[in-house]
Symmetry: C2
Subunit: 743 residues, 2 copies
């Protein structure tokens, strides 16, 4: 089916393509670089977009007829011929880059070039010279392996990050064009994709952020937040459970400005999707509350794609999924519509055959002048869009100083001055409490002072203690609220939070479940770390201390598993001061996600803990030694710090010089100077005992070859918590015995 | 809505319940214990079930009328009254056990007691005295928190694992009734559930196993494999992405004997599902290719439930989802239909009110004699069922000796003698190859000798190299084949493999993806480890050695994260001999899953590696020292062992006494004697250098405080593999420099 339509459309295409290549060098001077803040004022408001359906038809400034006037008239046979040419430019940039790298995925860009062109050339609002302009439309390539599509589009649109030399260094060391889209490498790329299904969930987060901010900040006379989120998802994304979770929430929330293109090409790595994927995807999305449109000819049906986008925008109360049937590797006479074009270079011979087939006479990486000229308008248009928005914002600022101050904080990421004063502090006389409860106190304190703070739990709000009491629920009809109800969807939750965090520097999402269920969302947490998304993971029930729920619910290896992960803070506070300290550092580290492991059970407020100490990761909370020479150092984290303190009390009664160190975060301790580390853990003192209700894996680093790590190297058990602690030997007695043996 | 129907049905129920409690002590003598093999012959075949629709109606032996004859006639007002009483027995066993533990989830058992009763009392075929009888129907409580439902049913049915004292020690240390269902604690529980969505995916694996074995072994005159798989899933399960993945595959494979009950009670922990879950679940399952039935009154509509099961069995080419609308906590006048009954004891007052409301005059944990008597027939009936099957099998064995030998091996888990001889061996002269390719050689060798070996990849068969060439694809119409196509569904894949592994001791499933994507399936892998499921995880592209795909695809912390997990073997073979050794040990460890981390890139066959050495986890592959006193020990794993060897060659040229140790599996090394460990890593030799292209986290344990671990403690990069190795310092030069510094 797909192959016969391919042959026909290719034949038409070959005939209609202009063959000559006269150049037009009329460069449009780029506007002066627009600063990141996006708050600079201009008076141009002509390009302001409205969201009512009538405005879609009214967006004539982007119609092909008017676009053509900006291009080189003599080169155009028809508008569609120029579109064809632009689309083939995208295809060949992808083909050539993959060929040069001899690595990569040409199939998707070749199939999705038409929708890519229509999105970046005709539909999206962005400013290539300021990829961080706040009110830009967001685009996510969920099928991230097809990244050459996005790089080609960014290149055509005039983004500085992707110049010709960047395309030529695709997938090479240090390039701006890595093997999958990475927001931290390439300005213009919103999120980090590649692991399938993450991107659509990120897009749900981006669209949630827009809906929330629009509801909070827009005024009848000032629509200051107003953009779409577009996404391309593939068969692989649609097979992943995470995409189902995110799509179910998008439908539930009625994210009307989320428009996802499903690249329905029937091919995945193992061959035809018939071998593993025969569900009715459209019907499923309808069941999830999406509006679904099918574009049957995604290869050359430009008008079908345009009409679908128009229809999608007209449906404002539901997200839209546009199923676009395409041919993977479109244009390759021998490899199109097969898995062989998915993830390998075409090879010189097939590249040549494809050039012949699509009538493409150019050298590798060539940008035909008419195509270049046509796309060149995006730089001035983008500048004008941003300038227009800046004017609007200046007016908004005058009329609504309070709201604009909040929104500015969200846009810039600058924290309101004095926010840290909101954090609670405790003394040893403060009542004992579970750190999950202390966490809630912090969350509620921070919610008052941080305008971009929002979040929720995966159906465990009342266990994780994550409700912000002054706010209602973010829902379809109350999107201005800040408590998010994720349902039992941990993986989607994490990835949605990545999208929220990467929407604006001042949005600080938190999300929660039981610590053991980080296993469900680990792929999203890893992308938080990699993509530098400041997501705060509120993970309660952090050990056997949860008791009766048993081993399926008791984390053992989880602390170790996150300590081994790069760029993430694993924090396990012991009491109120450390919980406040953990939140403080989690907020301050704005390029690093944090995980707070919190207890279900009550813990005493300890003498010596502090917000400042917590920031150092490891610090002395009590010591009766002198000269930095304790007989023994006892080291604890979280709920076991109390046990270390009790053991120290006993040992001191027996005359020992004992130091107690809280090791709330290994990563923060690693950041300290060698001098500081030596002051806490003097190398001469090898008598060290650690206690933590989790795997001992990794603790040799802290206690040394001669020390003793007390922990749990088996699965947990179902019983009351106290009983398990005792049976597993996580006790002061065990610490005392070990300390005596060593010192 | 639900609460008004609740009130009505409770009123009816209260009226119809008999109040007296005369006892009947006629115990039925249990048959002699039937051995596990399940192969003992008897002549009773009367209870043989057929799968044609007509047989459903014909299964009169299980109709209420006949059942009643086995019970105490005088106690029965109507059949439904006895069913009511049995259902309330289940409810109160759950209420009482949770109350006594003051911990647990009474809501689900109270709501699902009717479907539970109809399943275990009227529908399922099992032998309480041999929970491992091969041809039993399987039941999975995917909503595992409701485990008191299953414990109550196992108790009523006569399983030895759940006696009255076990119910009374619910959630206590050492009990057979832990807080969630655990197959390794409680015979009669098939799989380990609790983490939501796992159970339905396990059920898909169990149903896959049945369909596969039936297709392979049944004959026109001998239907030797023939059982159903039942499952109860909750709202939480249905929100999880893993359930979508598994359900999509179940529909694709047409698993007609999988029947899932969706406990549609509209309540999850955070309250009404309206706040986060408004998709049309039924329509979604239809889109996935399931047959969907809605039972509107799951609280008292016994006949509706029965009719639904009958209809489900009549649909043989699709799995069936029976949406059963129930009231969570049914019977509790003040807590039913609210989240408060989900996960906490009712409290003495509400227990009393519920007793009043349901007309239940008994002491806690009381089993009314008529109910007891009614259920008592399952012991003899179960024995007869198994005996009948044994007779059939004896006939089968005579007619089909070859097939029966294979099936016996699958049923008993006894490996065919000499199977290890199939493993390939290599010399240092054998050609260099990627361990993923060497893995494929092993997979294909094992496929020939292990009848229960089957598996596949999450859409990466051609990258993971996991196809068994002599077999076709397991598909709807070719279920006898053994290559499973999981699509891009890692999490579902892992949990389905858990189901396959726990179906029969001799089924050995393997599954594959890129090592980094273990993050997607970690929750399922953890349950493999906890539930002692011998799943072999074939994880290729195990480091930065995969090159251009970049940091989203390059595992860093993954080796450490699994080394920290209990009861799992993390194996990273370096060449052909070690790959064969890894497969050997993965097969032999029949209560432990294994992960094989395999290279994308070519590796040389090394001198000194062996299958036997691999079994020890860490072993010397070369040494020019004497007296167990090398100047330095170089330690490598997987693709970096080659680097250690090269470094050793250089150092030896310079006169150093160098030992090279392969550390293919930390867990296996841990199992060795102290003597052996000392022989490999003498404590006197502190000059130790390790090299591994992954996080150094944990390596202090091996190299000691004075050694040096060379590794990668940052995210990877997109570039050709060789370039990344060089830039990251994973080189022989780095090893040599470190060795010189230390020795």
């Amino acid at each position: 089916m797909a192959s016969s339509s391919l042959t026909l459309s290719q034949a038409i295409l070959s005939r209609s393509l202009p063959r000559h290549n006269s150049s037009n060098n009329s460069q449009i001077t780029p506007p002066s670089q627009i600063t990141f803040s996006g708050l600079k004022s201009t008076t141009n408001t002509a390009l302001r977009r409205r969201t009512t359906p009538s405005s879609v038809a009214g967006a004539a400034v982007r119609s092909p007829a008017i676009r053509a006037s900006a291009a080189t008239e003599t080169l155009l046979k028809t508008d569609n011929a120029l579109v064809d040419k632009s689309v083939n430019t995208i295809r060949f940039l992808a083909i050539d880059a993959v060929e040069k790298a001899n690595s990569g995925h040409p199939g998707l860009p070749m199939g999705c070039a038409p929708m890519g062109h229509i999105l970046y050339d005709e539909t999206m609002r962005y400013n290539p010279k300021n990829p961080y302009w706040f009110n830009r439309d967001r685009f996510v390539l969920s099928a991230g392996h097809g990244c050459m599509l996005q790089y080609a589009l960014l290149h055509l649109a005039g983004y500085d990050a992707v110049k010709e030399e960047d395309l030529k260094s695709f997938r090479q060391w240090g390039s701006k064009t890595p093997g999958h889209p990475e927001n931290f490498e390439t300005p213009g790329v919103e999120v980090t994709t590649g692991p399938l299904g993450q991107g659509i969930a990120n897009a749900v987060g981006l669209a949630l952020a827009e809906k929330h901010l629009a509801a909070r900040f827009n005024k009848p006379d000032a629509e200051i937040v107003d953009h779409y989120t577009y996404c391309i998802i593939g068969d692989g994304c649609n097979m992943e459970g995470i995409s189902q979770e995110a799509a179910s929430l998008a439908g539930h929330w009625g994210l009307g400005k989320l428009i996802a293109f499903y690249d329905d090409n029937h091919i995945s790595i193992d061959g035809d999707t018939e071998i593993a994927f025969t569900e009715d995807v459209g019907a499923r999305f309808e069941a999830l509350g999406w509006h679904v449109i099918w574009v049957k000819n995604g290869n050359t049906g430009y008008d079908e794609i345009r009409a679908a986008i128009k229809e999608a925008k007209a449906v404002t109360d539901k997200p839209t999924m546009i199923k676009v049937t395409t041919t993977i590797g479109f244009g390759s006479p021998n490899k199109a519509n097969s898995y062989s074009v998915h993830g390998s270079a075409l090879g010189a011979k097939e590249v040549e055959a494809t050039r012949q087939n699509l009538g493409w006479p150019y050298e590798p990486f060539h940008l035909p002048e008419d195509v270049k000229s046509h796309w060149s308008r995006h730089v001035p248009e983008g500048a004008a869009l941003e300038a227009g928005w800046n004017t609007k914002f200046a007016e908004y600022e005058k009329k609504y100083p309070e709201e604009s101050a909040e929104l500015k904080s969200i846009i810039t990421g600058e924290l309101p001055s004095g926010w840290e004063k909101a954090l609670p502090t405790y003394t040893a006389e403060s009542p004992a409490d579970a750190t999950r409860n202390l966490s809630q106190t912090n969350l509620n304190a921070l919610a008052k002072v941080l305008p971009g703070f929002l979040g929720g739990s995966a159906d465990l709000a009342s266990s994780n203690m994550t409700l912000m009491k002054m706010f209602g629920d973010f829902q379809k009809n109350t999107p201005e609220e800040r408590n998010i109800r994720f349902g039992v969807r941990e993986h989607g939750m994490g990835a949605i939070c990545n999208g929220i965090a990467l929407h604006s520097p001042g949005l600080i999402p938190y999300c929660a479940t039981f610590f053991v269920f980080t296993d469900y969302m680990r792929a999203a947490i890893r992308i938080s770390a990699l993509s530098e998304s400041r997501v705060i993971y509120v993970m309660t029930h952090d050990s056997i201390g949860l008791g009766e729920d048993g081993p399926t619910h008791q984390p053992i290896e989880h602390l170790a598993s996150f300590r081994a992960m790069p760029n993430i803070l694993m924090l396990r506070p012991a009491d109120g001061n450390e919980t406040a300290g953990a939140y403080r550092i989690a907020i301050l580290k704005n390029k690093t996600p944090s995980i707070l492991a919190l207890s279900r059970q009550k813990l005493p407020q300890l003498e010596g803990t502090s917000i400042e100490g917590t920031a150092k990761g490891g610090y002395i909370i009590s010591d009766n030694s002198s000269g930095n020479k304790p007989d023994v150092i006892l080291i604890g984290t979280g709920s076991e710090l109390e046990i270390a303190v009790k053991a120290a009390d006993e040992l001191r009664k027996e005359g020992k010089a004992v130091r107690v160190v809280s090791f709330v975060s290994w990563e923060l301790f690693d950041e300290q100077t060698a001098e500081y580390k030596e002051s806490v853990l003097p190398s001469a003192v090898t008598a060290r005992v650690s206690i933590e209700a989790g795997s001992t894996f990794g603790w040799e680093k802290i206690v040394g070859s001669k020390g003793k790590a007390i922990g749990i190297d088996r699965f947990g058990a179902s019983a009351p918590a106290g009983k398990i602690y005792k049976e597993f030997g996580i006790t002061a007695e065990a610490v005392i015995a070990a300390a005596k043996q060593l010192s």
